[in-house]
């Protein structure tokens, strides 16, 4: 390892930027979620705080941070505190390898061009999967440590769901990996630059990924774990204040991560839409647009579809998505060979 100034400072700066961007995006997302769904349901959404309710997220955040932090008496303190951390840390850590754009010199600020990702492991995709698999413990342990029925059930459900859907999700990503012949996020994008976006040859994989990604993040229509009618608010029922905010953040961060992965793997990452390259829009904007598109889909789905029944959810995961993903891999492998 080469610990020189530049190698320390630049990543640190990058980390800070990414961190800020994520937090900002989450704020935007909360606002967007309300607004988009409101418009879809033909209402106005938040309008009070600031113009068009633009400051609503800030108000929410202030409210959350200033609320009393309630700890249930029977809770297992250690785990109760650990759980939100376990939820949020992996969610942020995954951004470590997401390439927001091609190499850049930051408008000539640096001598050598540097990657727009904080780091570029050659096992980037694997790294994301590995780290994100830790996130589940936040949910599980949070539900357990509250020492209350609903959170526990919610936690179990959501963990089972996440574990189940992680399998087809990973499998769906194998096809593009085969095509790109690398696990590096950057490498995958570069492979798409040479050929076409992987959404074309991997269309089924893309669909499976999309569906599973929604399930992974516990969003509607797969939001069983927090089905209010059945389970109050799921695993974080007992959480409040800052800790609740952590879970909340983690959920949105996860949404952004899966969207980013989808963008990188299927939609060519920072590459311009074919035919629109002449516009000279910076790579990072392309990336943001694509991620935004996926996030919009999340909201769209939530507004459109009813919730699944739990057994149906598991069935469709194991009996439909996994076989489809497997067949997809098989066919892809044959073609590559």
């Amino acid at each position: 390892m080469d610990f020189t100034m530049i190698n320390i400072v630049i990543p640190t700066v990058k980390i800070l930027i990414v961190f800020a961007v994520i937090l900002l995006s989450v704020l935007v997302m909360t606002y967007a979620e309300r607004k988009v769904i409101a418009f879809m349901q033909v209402r106005l959404g938040p309008m009070r705080v600031g113009p068009w309710g633009l400051l609503q997220p800030i108000a929410d955040a202030l409210k959350l941070f200033s609320k009393e932090d309630i700890i249930p008496t029977m809770a297992d303190k250690l785990v109760y505190f650990l759980a939100p951390t376990l939820a949020i840390v992996p969610a942020f850590l995954t951004f470590l390898v997401v390439p927001f754009g091609d190499q850049t010199t930051f408008f000539g600020l640096l001598k050598h061009p540097t990657s727009m990702a904080i780091s570029d492991f050659n096992i980037g995709l694997l790294y994301i999967l590995a780290i994100s698999s830790v996130g589940i413990y936040g949910i599980l342990l949070g539900g357990w440590s509250s020492n209350s029925k609903y959170p526990l059930l919610g936690a179990l459900r959501s963990a089972a769901q996440i574990v189940s859907y992680e399998v087809p999700l990973t499998l769906a990503l194998v096809g593009p990996i085969l095509l790109a012949n690398t696990l590096s996020m950057k490498g995958i994008v570069e492979a798409q630059a040479k050929g076409m976006w992987f959404i074309v040859p991997q269309f089924f994989g893309f669909l499976v990924y999309l569906a599973c990604a929604v399930a992974e993040t516990n969003r509607a229509p797969y939001d069983l774990p927090e089905a209010e009618q059945e389970l109050v608010a799921g695993f974080h029922t007992e959480y409040s204040g800052m800790k609740f905010a952590f879970f909340y953040l983690a959920e949105y961060a996860n949404m952004i991560v899966v969207s980013a992965i989808a963008t990188v793997v299927f939609l060519g990452g920072w590459l311009p839409v074919p035919g629109l390259a002449f516009l000279h829009i910076p790579a990072i904007i392309w990336f943001a647009l694509k991620v935004g598109f996926f996030l919009f889909i999340f909201l769209w789905l939530r507004a459109t579809y009813p919730r699944y029944r739990y057994d149906q959810l598991m069935q469709i995961g194991w009996k439909f998505f996994i076989p489809v993903a497997l067949i997809n891999i098989f066919v892809t492998a044959l073609l590559v060979l």
């Binding site: 694997l126 590995a130 830790v134």
Partner: protein, 175 residues
């Protein structure tokens, strides 16, 4: 800066090792099984960190995927299903705990001392083989050529595990 460099290259592993041992002890001596699981999770993550330091990025990722993503989830599930409201804390340890402890401690100390004195020579200057093309590719190259047979056996093993787990846990259909 130099200090930082040498710190990282030298003491990082020791720190990781120390923490690993702490959490491992936590696994064994926690009163609450859930704490054990948490400790185990941390142990696995720390071990993955150790792998990372040893130029085995791929293994580190797999370690996280397999343990954090799979094994420990199973443990937590099982714990939540099984041991929740049991008074498991009544007798944590066996009657012959002290004997076992003594025995194991003795063995470990003896072996550790022996290991400590092993003449393993200096560390290799270059580790070309294992980082060739990033450890993933190198591992894959070996795995799918030399070790293809165990790989296939492992696939049968996983099939058996699947069948076995279902057989053991499925409700029996009485005729």
């Amino acid at each position: 800066m130099e200090a930082l460099v040498s710190f990282f290259s030298h003491y990082m592993l020791y720190i990781l090792m120390g923490l690993t041992l702490l959490t491992a002890v936590g696994v064994v001596y926690s009163k609450n099984a859930v704490h054990s699981v948490v400790a185990l999770l941390l142990t696995m993550i720390l071990v993955a960190g150790i792998y990372l330091m040893l130029d085995a990025e791929f293994i580190a990722a797999v370690q996280l995927l397999v343990y954090a993503g799979g094994i420990i989830v199973l443990f937590v599930f099982m714990l939540l299903l099984v041991a929740l409201h049991k008074d498991e804390a009544q007798r944590l340890f066996n009657t012959y705990t002290v004997v076992s402890l003594g025995l194991v401690a003795f063995l470990v100390i003896v072996l550790a001392v022996v290991f400590f004195g092993m003449p393993f020579g200096p560390e290799p200057a270059t580790v070309t083989n294992i980082v060739k093309g990033g450890s993933t590719e190198a591992v894959a190259g070996t795995l799918y050529s030399t070790y293809i047979l165990p790989f296939e056996i492992a696939s049968i093993l996983l099939l058996v595990v699947m069948v076995g787990a279902i057989v053991l846990t499925k409700e029996r259909v009485k005729s």
